[in-house]
Amino acid sequence: MRTAWRILVVDDEPVMCESLAAWLREDGYHVDTAASGREALELSRSTEYAISFVDLKMPGGIDGIETMMELKKLQPEASVVIITAYATVDTAITAMKEGAQEYIVKPCNPQEISLLVSRIIKVKHLERENQILRRRLTGRYRFHDLLSKSPRMQEVFQLVRDVARLRSTVLIQGESGTGKELVARALHFSGDRAGKPFVGVSCAALAETLLESELFGHEKGAFTGAVSQRKGKFELADGGTIFLDEIGDISAKLQMDLLRVLQERRFYRVGGAEEISVDVRVVAATHVDLAAAVREGRFRDDLYYRLNVVAVHIPPLRERREDVPLLARTFLERTARELGKEVDDLSEDALRLLMDHPWPGNVRELENAIERALVTSRGAVLTADDFAFLRVPAGNGTGWTVPTHLPLHEVEHQVIAATLKRLDGNVKETAAVLGIDRSTLYEKLRKYGIER
């Protein structure tokens, strides 16, 4: 449908403007005209143009190249064709360098303009079709903020839908970066509690006493620094959902307190005498094997059974590789928009590399990899070279020799300490580089006694 596309003609000479507009209207396009760059920008703020024909020389105000650059800022997808009566190689080069799709000289051969317009519109049609198909495809695989075409994840989505309306406690298990919190949110926002608060707590990020106060609140003077009464996360989540992340890392005392809350939905603030009653749905998550922790005596079995009423297991990314292209393209589209970069696809070799990567940090690692590649990329398509940082040398790579005499926990200790040091103690960046989330990093820092 030609009529769906709008074209803008910008020329200070009315006869030029009108003659080109009339010719394009005969071809079925909606055409607007502007007598100056300023007028063109004004129109472009409210109307989307597939093509803008911009005269190079316009007296007073902004010239054609400047107009083009401003138009591109307003509508990066728009194609700008520079037209001029005074053709020189220099101006042509400048125009093309600054982003003009084409450069034509007046008076133009009708065949030239006709071919040019049909070529640009053909590409626009393909782009739009591509966008619609992708959106349709993405929509089919989307569940709240989760995206997957894997049958195992579709089962997870279905389970979440099935239990969303219940108050049953849910235990979400999966490796770091698989999206446990997103599943918890989907659970909350699919059910009757969607209008009530969703409160998340990372149990690994806080010391035992702090976590206790964080969860249950405290009374004024309960401990040094408790200068006023404060509500805990359970109270804040009343009527809604509390999400207890990294539940496998809590102390024996907190395990007991939590068991009581789960059994009775009642608790005391730290230092308080008044019993507080709440209506809260508990969703817990962990990356550790809780059943194994129970067997080893590190986790209370009664709490485990209380938590594990509905078990949701999120498969790691390496076990659902069919999701890699879908996720990679979605992250690319979103991050490119956020970074203001005109990168819209991944090359075949880049996709192959992403498909082959083991993704120990799962979806979060993939998201970080896309962002990192985008930051340093120069082209309109991300290539395998943009993901060179994923190719970790397997053998004697530069500056890294695989130790063969150390226990695995010692290797982990050293790697975390060295990475943290190199990144000047920045936990966020260290977690991103190591492909784990911050709460997991905090837990490991504590475990190994690493100072920031």
Binding site: V15, S19, L20, R25, E26, I83, P107, N109, P110
Partner: protein, 181 residues
Amino acid sequence: MNGVLVVGMGAVDPDLVDEAAAAAALWGPPIERIPPLPEPEGARDAGRGQWAAAPFLKNLNAALPAGALRILGVTERDLFVPVLSFVFGQAQMEGPAAVVSLARLRPEFYGLPPDPPLLRARARKEAVHEVGHTFGLVHCPHESCPMSLSVGVWQVDRKGEAPCRSCAALARGRAERARRR
């Protein structure tokens, strides 16, 4: 006269104007040939060696009597619009006037021997095309329809004289509406 007027502008072979008139009749409204009009003054661009189309349309508008639907001018002059190197014709989209140039329809323009039947066929197609624009038709994607875009004579030769069904239906409806107004 509630129809389409067809007129030669300047020195034009009257038979070719008749051809244009006969072809334009297929849009439905009655056709009337009127006496020739002079070429517009000041339309010639010495630098380009061509004639601007706009003054032709202006004079045709001025010559349109009350009650007439449309007016089609036929000229031997090589026409242009400022932004393009040439046009085979020019029309006011859903407006009263259109003009057809015979200059580039003649084989002689391309160094070929004259071919009167070919020229007549080309003139008929372009007359249908430009009058079609005055009824609001845009270029048709069907190559065989006279409303398809021509930027070279090979495209004029490729298309037929009878509009496709959708262009014919659209133009008939719009001509009928214009006549009622």
